[in-house]
């Protein structure tokens, strides 16, 4: 009962703040609403008993990436006046592509009711011990490949940054 109420409260916050990210005019407010939505997502993770994911989501997204977003916006000092004016043609194209994306999404979500729902009887799957075990046994190849990918992107960033 209590967790159902929490679920709905978090969902309302999440949907509202995600919408506001798109609709608000000032870039700084967009970033702040995005941070709020990350916290709501972390709340959902906690409801699913995945505390590790919840905390890592806050550390990585809210604590590091969004700080950099905010940092960039503050440095560039983006305002409504400095926003470039877009021609009407581009706006029309944007609307059409947006509608196409919506149709694709609806099409792909149409058959979702028939898909079997995975029901985990064991709700400790999100705890750090089980997560670590499955990462290093069942998913060790994708995990290591992702690490190599990260390393490559770090080296790439350094290369680009050093150029000047």
């Amino acid at each position: 009962m209590f967790s159902t109420i929490l679920f709905y409260v978090l969902s309302v916050i999440l949907v509202f703040s995600s919408l506001m990210v798109v609709f608000t005019k000032k870039p700084v407010n967009s970033v702040l609403f995005l941070i709020v939505s990350f916290f709501a997502i972390s709340g959902h993770y906690i409801l699913l008993n995945a505390q590790f994911l919840a905390v890592v989501n806050i550390i990585v997204y809210a604590g590091a990436i969004m700080v950099l977003f905010l940092f960039t916006i503050m440095l560039l000092n983006l305002n409504k006046e400095t926003e470039p004016k877009k021609p009407v043609l581009i706006k029309i194209i944007a609307v059409i592509t947006g509608c196409l994306l919506a149709i694709t999404l609806i099409g792909s979500l149409k058959g979702i009711d028939n898909a079997p729902v995975q029901n985990f009887s064991d709700n400790s799957i999100g705890l750090i011990k089980n997560l670590g075990k499955s990462l290093f046994t069942d998913f060790v190849v994708p995990f290591e490949l992702t690490s190599v990918l990260f390393l490559a992107s770090i080296v790439g960033t350094l290369m680009i940054g050093k150029k000047e």
Binding site: V28, Q51, F52, V55, I58, A62, G63, L70, M74, I128
Partner: protein, 341 residues
């Protein structure tokens, strides 16, 4: 729902909040007293005996100052800055075990608000969010000095978080757990982590100084270059909140350092005393606070001894010294753990 349990938790939370605020209040007094001592002065001694009422006088002064509102585009964020700083500073204390458990009427009452199994990650998460108060406040002030201070704070905190996380990782590898309660209970007696992780302690201590924006890393509010840094435009109690949050952060960092490296509420020869569980818990809390006070003193000692870093020196220290050393520390810890197994 167990009402006893809820009431107990509420009492504990209130007590911890009150203690945090009191400690922060008197830290300002001791900071000034110690500064005076290091500089061969007397320090505050007019308000009350030994100047003990000085924090109250300071607080009242801040409350009665004029509330100044700069001509900013975003008043909401300007007010939210100090609120966030204070809120986040008080959040961390939830997972710190202040003592072992009390036994009242056959029931165990742990002296910890929330024993979550990822306690130490929770602390890292809250500190990583802590920069928003300073950033938003500095940006919303609509002042270039504030903006520079806010940007310095953001990049400094992100840089030093990495080394801090890596220093914690070595501890986590040793104790096989992310729960602070578990980490402390493995340091019984004088089997403290500091004997195994002296390098990790040094890195963590330096990063804690940087995360609290304390000298020699107080570049976000560096008054010789930036007037007042991120809080240039703040006055009255909003300024007070920023300053207060810094002292609470210092208190919590001292608590985390004592918990991770100095055995928390454990003390030497605790088993040979033969006291009852409740007495042990109370003595444990006292010992824990003694350790915290020592580290609080260390923070102040460092502030009034070392000159401030230059900004490029700060970045170089973080990225080219602390992070490689911390990674090396993890490597050695891993090898030693392998050999011992």
């Amino acid at each position: 729902m167990d009402w006893n349990y809820i009431i107990y938790k509420i009492i504990l939370i209130t007590a911890i909040m009150t203690v945090s605020l009191l400690v922060a209040m008197y830290s300002t007094y001791f900071e000034r007293k110690f500064a005076a001592w290091f500089q061969d002065r007397l320090g505050p001694n007019r308000a009350g005996p030994f100047g003990l009422m000085q924090p109250l006088a300071d607080g009242l002064k801040l409350l009665f100052k004029e509330e100044f509102m700069p001509n900013t585009a975003n008043r909401f964020l300007f007010i939210m800055g100090p609120m966030l700083a204070m809120f986040v500073a008080l959040l961390t204390s939830a997972v710190i075990p202040w003592g072992s458990s009390l036994n009242i009427g056959g029931k165990e009452y742990a002296l910890q608000v929330a024993d979550i199994n990822i306690g130490i990650l929770y602390i890292v998460a809250v500190t990583s969010v802590g920069v928003y108060g300073i950033m938003l406040g500095g940006w919303a002030s609509n002042n270039k000095y504030s903006l520079l201070g806010a940007i310095r704070a953001a990049s400094q905190m992100i840089s030093y978080e990495l080394a801090m996380g890596l220093a914690i990782l070595a501890i986590v590898m040793m104790s096989d757990s992310l729960s602070l309660n578990e980490i402390i209970s493995q340091q019984k007696g004088i089997n403290w982590n500091i004997w195994y992780q002296p390098v990790g302690f040094l890195i963590f201590m330096i990063c804690a100084l940087a995360e609290c924006n304390r000298a020699p890393f107080d570049l976000p509010e560096c008054e010789t270059e930036l007037v007042g840094g991120f809080h240039t435009e703040y006055s009255s109690m909003k300024l007070g909140f920023f300053l207060f949050a810094e002292y609470i952060n210092m208190f919590i960092s001292s608590a985390v350092i004592s918990a991770l490296f100095f055995g928390g509420y454990h003390f030497p020869f605790e088993d040979s005393l033969g006291l009852s569980q409740n007495w042990m818990a109370i003595i444990g809390v006292v010992v824990f606070f003694m350790k915290i006070s020592f580290f609080g003193f260390l923070f102040m000692w460092i502030r009034w001894t070392l000159p401030r870093f230059r900004y490029d020196q700060l970045m170089r220290l973080g990225w080219t010294w602390l992070i490689p050393i911390a990674i090396f520390n993890i490597l050695i810890t891993g090898v030693v753990l392998m050999i011992n197994n």
